[in-house]
Symmetry: C2
Subunit: 325 residues, 2 copies
């Protein structure tokens, strides 16, 4: 590869917004929108850990950007831009980088974000890609994990469990009964999650949610994060949780689907009186919003999220969720 500067000019400078100063300065310059807070998050992905060795470069790039935008969306913010650092082994060639950049370009257009800056370095190990993403939300309106109150209802966007199944498909551990179309659907749900970016920003602007988290560790685990931060008990009705036809066709137990990770949907709490408004907001953004449970006092017990079966009994879970390595 021919030097860092050439590489940046060729692949990444075309992705830079005005904040990036053509990637020709020491730093990016960013004027924060007046009256708004900045929401900022960072996620790193490693070849062989977060994506399969040999995965297509555009898919790697888009997935990493989307997992970061998922955090921004779950906080009720609209995304603005991101910085990217890449540690690349010698096996990476310009064709790989062109494809990586093309993936970013596609999702920049899709989500209305710009590259602010970054760094590219060499490594003797696997590819490590790290993104820091920035978003903006009306001052004081960030939806935190803390804030859920007894009496609130629990909602989730999209469908849950597809990505966990999709990873199993990609790794050849697929449920046997699936059609090729179903396998394809599930694998894409893992590789290219579609975080509800527009809906998340609208949710923040509307001020309807009391708490929220993105579903990355697994629905029950992430609802548990809200429960712990808010000091409440969250009950999720297994039968109410939204699963895709492909996930249902897999025959995999619902408790497994609802504790698998990487969905990149939003689980949130809100006053039950807002249910209709939330459904309308979802419809406006093409996002399914499903009421899946309720918040109650933990009445002296430990704050937690539990899964209830159709008889209302607490499901004993082998694991509440997936821990990212």
């Amino acid at each position: 590869m021919s030097g860092e500067f050439d590489l940046i000019a060729r692949c990444f400078a075309p992705l830079a917004g005005p904040e990036g100063l053509d990637l020709k300065d020491d730093a990016a310059l960013f004027r924060p929108p007046e009256g708004e807070d900045i929401v900022i998050t960072a996620d790193a992905n490693v070849a062989g850990v977060h994506f399969l060795e040999g995965e297509q470069a555009d898919v790697i790039a888009r997935r990493l950007l989307r997992t970061n935008l998922s955090d921004i969306a779950a906080k009720g913010a609209r995304p603005l831009g991101y910085l990217l650092t890449l540690a690349l082994p010698p096996s990476i060639d310009v064709a790989w980088l062109d494809r990586f950049a093309a993936g970013l370009a596609a999702d920049q257009a899709r989500y209305g974000v710009r590259l602010f800056g970054g760094d590219t370095v060499s490594t003797a190990g696997p590819v490590v890609a790290s993104i820091t993403a920035l978003g903006a939300v009306a001052s004081g309106r960030m939806i935190r994990r803390a804030g859920a109150a007894p009496g609130d209802a629990v909602f989730v966007t999209g469908t849950i469990g597809d990505a966990g199944l999709g990873l199993a498909v990609a790794e050849g551990r697929a449920a046997a009964g699936l059609t090729p179309a179903e396998r394809q659907f599930l694998e894409t749900r893992f590789k290219l999650p579609e975080p509800p970016v527009g809906f998340g920003a609208a949710l923040g602007a509307a001020g309807l949610a009391t708490a929220a988290a993105d579903v990355s560790d697994g629905l029950v685990a992430d609802a548990g994060h809200i429960a712990v931060a808010s000091g409440v008990r969250i009950e999720i009705e297994s039968a109410a949780a939204p699963c895709s036809p492909a996930a249902l066709a897999s025959g995999v137990d619902r408790a497994v689907l609802l504790t698998s990770g990487d969905d990149y949907e939003i689980v949130f709490t809100a006053h039950p009186g807002h249910a209709e408004a939330l459904a309308e907001l979802g419809a406006l953004h093409g996002v399914r919003v499903t009421r899946i449970g309720a918040v109650s006092s933990c009445a002296g017990g430990q704050p937690s999220a539990v899964l209830l079966d159709s008889a209302g009994a607490e499901t004993v879970l082998e694991k509440a969720g997936y821990t990212h390595r």
Copy 2:
């Protein structure tokens, strides 16, 4: 290592400022200072590339944070905080992480910055650490690389060439004539650079500089970045450039010293009438400010920075500077 959550709680949550929400939410929340722009930069370091394998963890952490703060300072901004992503091989234990965090804690106190957030992941390869740093500068006051004008003088902070020699010492390629104390001094200049963070912020606030860059690729190369961005010719008088007694004792050619990298000082341009004010500003912050050259029109030629010998002749350089791998 016992899970990402334990690790974060143990080592990194104590470093988090209020923006980090105890590292217990999906993202950091950051209220931008009114009337200021945000300056943001990212740098990644890899074991075996940017620091020696086996380097002490606190030194790795501090050097990475400082190289990021150097970019912030060179833009005239004061640093606010940073996000950290770490890709760690299985060989890393909690003692290493404790020491890494202790290094960050020391420099957070030194520079008045806070941890906003981040991510820790596993890798089968070498340690990859990436920091995104944020700073603030009065609106419109960021010092860019573009802006140097014919007639401006060129200044640099600190001393130049120590870090390049220090790397040679650390790698056992040391100049033979150095005393142990000189070797120690130079090695420390490489391992723990001291970017002029307070001076940089003051320079931005004072509005005295027309252009600036941090000296990371080498003085002549980084002055060259200013020249190209500004469309001017920059002449640096070799004899005027500040070198430490240890660097002078090394007997290494000045042209080599002034083209070696990793100094993390600031090279900047300003109207020559500000020379006295700049020296005073430096004195106030304990930073040596040296006038080293002049900006002129490139008169139809390519914009560039050149090094002049004591007779005023242009030194032919083998390389203008160090390219980071």
